[in-house]
C-alpha cells in the first residue's frame, strides 16, 4: 500500500500489521486558556489544516484560530428570497394563468374568482410566500451547513483514539493534520510540546 503523506507512523508491533497512514498530530491541553494561547501560535505559524476540539464552546477561540465569518447568512437570505418568488409564482400561475407550462407534464393555470378578489391578490398570497421563505431558508441553512462542514461522514480518525475520548469531558485538543503543507512530524510534535501541551500523540488515519 503506497502512502501519500511523507511521514508514516511508527510501526507498533509485528510486520504483518500494515503500515497506516498518518492523519495528524494531536496535542492535549488541560485548560482553555492554554489552548487559546496555543491556537494563536498555531495560526501564526501559518498552519491551515488544523482544528481545535473542546468540551464546550470557548469564547474567543474563533478569533484565536483566525476563522473567518461564514457566508452562510448571505446564501440563506438568497434561498429565502427564492422561496418568496416561488411562492408568488406558484400562486400567480395556478390562480391566474391561462397558459400551460411543461413541468414534467403539461400543467395549466385555473383562473378562479374567490370572494370577488382580483385573480392576483397579494394579501392572500403573502402567507404562502412567507411559509415558503421560511421553508427554503431553514432547509438551505441546515443543508449548506452540512455541506460546508463536510457532513455527513460516518467516521473520523480521531474517534478511534482513546485519549481523545475525554474531549467530551475535561480535555482540550489541537490537531494538526498531516496534509498541511507545513506539517513535518517531528518538528510539529516539538512545536506543539513547546506550546504547553500535556501530551502529544500521532493519530493514524
Amino acid at each position: 500500500m503506497t502512502t501519500l503523506s511523507p511521514i508514516t507512523a511508527p510501526v507498533i508491533q509485528g510486520n504483518q500489521i500494515p503500515r497506516k497512514r498518518l492523519y495528524g498530530i494531536m496535542a492535549e491541553f488541560h485548560d482553555p486558556a492554554t489552548l487559546m494561547a496555543a491556537a494563536d501560535k498555531v495560526r501564526m505559524a501559518g498552519f491551515r489544516w488544523w482544528d481545535c476540539h473542546t468540551p464546550f464552546p470557548v469564547h474567543g477561540l474563533d478569533q484565536a484560530m483566525g476563522i473567518k465569518r461564514t457566508i452562510l447568512p448571505v446564501l440563506v437570505f438568497g434561498a429565502g428570497m427564492t422561496g418568496t418568488m416561488i411562492g408568488f409564482c406558484l400562486q400567480a400561475f395556478t390562480n391566474a394563468a391561462s397558459f400551460s407550462i411543461w413541468a414534467l407534464v403539461w400543467v395549466t393555470g385555473y383562473p378562479f374568482l374567490i370572494s370577488g378578489k382580483p385573480l392576483i391578490s397579494l394579501p392572500a398570497f403573502i402567507p404562502v410566500m412567507f411559509e415558503l421563505t421560511i421553508l427554503l431558508s431553514a432547509l438551505s441553512a441546515v443543508g449548506i451547513m452540512f455541506l460546508f462542514n463536510g457532513l455527513p461522514r460516518w467516521n473520523h480518525p480521531l474517534l478511534a483514539n482513546k485519549r481523545f475520548l475525554r474531549v467530551t469531558d475535561d480535555r482540550f485538543f489541537i490537531v494538526i493534520e498531516s496534509r498541511d503543507p507545513r506539517f513535518f512530524a517531528s518538528r510539529t510534535e516539538q512545536f506543539l510540546k513547546d506550546l504547553g501541551a500535556k501530551a502529544v500523540e500521532m493519530v493514524e488515519a
Binding site: P32, H59, F77, G116
Partner: protein, 432 residues
Amino acid sequence: MSESAPAINLTPANIRADALATPGTGLRILGFAILIIAFVMGMRTPDQGLFLRTWMQSWLFVTSISLGALFFLIVHHITHAGWSVVVRRPAEAIAANLQWLWIGFLPFVFYWWKGELDFIFPWANLAALKEISLAEAELVAKKSAFLNEKFFMIRAAVYVLTWFVLARFFVGNSVAQDSDGSVAHTKKLEKWAGPAAILFGLTTSFAAFDWIMSLNPAWFSTMFGLYFFVGCCTGGFAYIGIVCLRLQSLGYLKGIITTEHYQDIGKLLFAFGVVFWAYIAFSQYMLIWYGNIPEETAWFLARQIGEWRWISVVLLFGHFILPFLFLISRWTKRWRGTLLFACVWMVAAQWFDLYYLIQPKIPHDIGAYDTYEQILAQYSNESAHFLSPWNWVLLIGFMLMLTGSTMRRLSSMGLLCIKDPRLTESLRFENM
C-alpha cells in the same frame, strides 16, 4: 473560565449618575408646564375631539415605552436571564415612570366629570351617535354593558393601578437588593414574574380595547390588544437602547455594557419591533380584507382616504420594510452609530403607529357610496392633521417628562444592579 477577564470599573464615577438629577428635574418641570398650558389651551379649542385624540396618542406613546420596559423586566425575570443584568437598571428607570404616568389619564376623568367624554369616545353619547348614524348607534347600544362611562373609568383605574404596582414591585425589589445584597429579592421577582406577565397581558390588551379600539366603537378586532403590546415592545426596547447608548456616551457604564449586549437589544428590537409587528399588523389586515365585512373594513377605509393613504404607506415602509432590511445584518446591531439610528427610528415609528391608530375618523356616510373609488374621490382632501400643533406640543411635553423622570430615577438609584447574583455572568456575556 480561567482566562483573565478585563478589569471592570465598578467605582461610583462609572455606575452612579448623580449629575443627571438637576437636568432631569428641569426637563420634567418644563414638560409638565408645557402639558398644563397645552391642556388649558386645548380645552378652549374649537375641535376638542382632535385635541383629546392627540392627548391620548401622545400619552399612550410615552406609556407604551414604559410598558415595553416593564415587559423587558418581566421577561428578564421569567427566563432567569443572565445577559441582561447590566442593561436592567436603565429598563427599570423607564418602567418606573408608570408610577406617575396615570396623571396623563386625568384629562379624560375631567371630561367625564364635565359629561363631555363623547368628544373623543362616540359611545359615551348614544343619542348623539343615533343622529349621525342610526345603524352604528344600534350596534354600539348592544355593547353598552361594557362600553359605559362608569365601567370604563373603573377599568382604567384597574389598569393604571396594576401598572403602578408592577412597576413599584419590580423596581423596588431590585433597588432594595443593591443595599442588602440578598438573593431573596431575585427569587421573589422570578417567582412573581409569571403572574405579572399574565396581569401585564390582560391589562395592556384591555387598555388597547378601551382607549384605542373604542374610538370607533362599532369596529372590532380580537388581535388589537396584541397589536398594542407589540407597539409597547417597539417603543420600549428601542428606548432602552437609546438610554444605554446615551449613558455610555456621557461616560457612564464604561466597559460594562458591551457590543454583545447591544447586539441583543438590537435582536429584540428586530424580532418584536419589526418582524412581530409586521406579522400582527398583516394578520389583522388580511383577515379583515379577506372577510370583507363592511363594519370591519370601514376601519381600514378610514386609513386609505385623503392624506391617510400616504400615512399608511409610510407606516408600512417605516415600521417594517426599511428597518427589516437595515437591522437584519449583524454589524448594524453591533455598531453603536447604526444601532442608535435604528432605535431612534423605531421610537419614531411607534409614535407614527399610534398616530395612525388613533387619529383617523371613519366617515359616517360611507354606506351612501356604491364603490370604493367614489369614497376615495369624495374624501380625497381628507386631512391627517399631521402638522396640527397639538401633535408636536403634546409630544414634546410628554417626552420631556418621560426623559426628565428617567434621568432623575437613574441618578437616584444608580446605573447598575450591583448585587445581582447574575451580574458576573452578564459582564462576561458574549454572543457565539
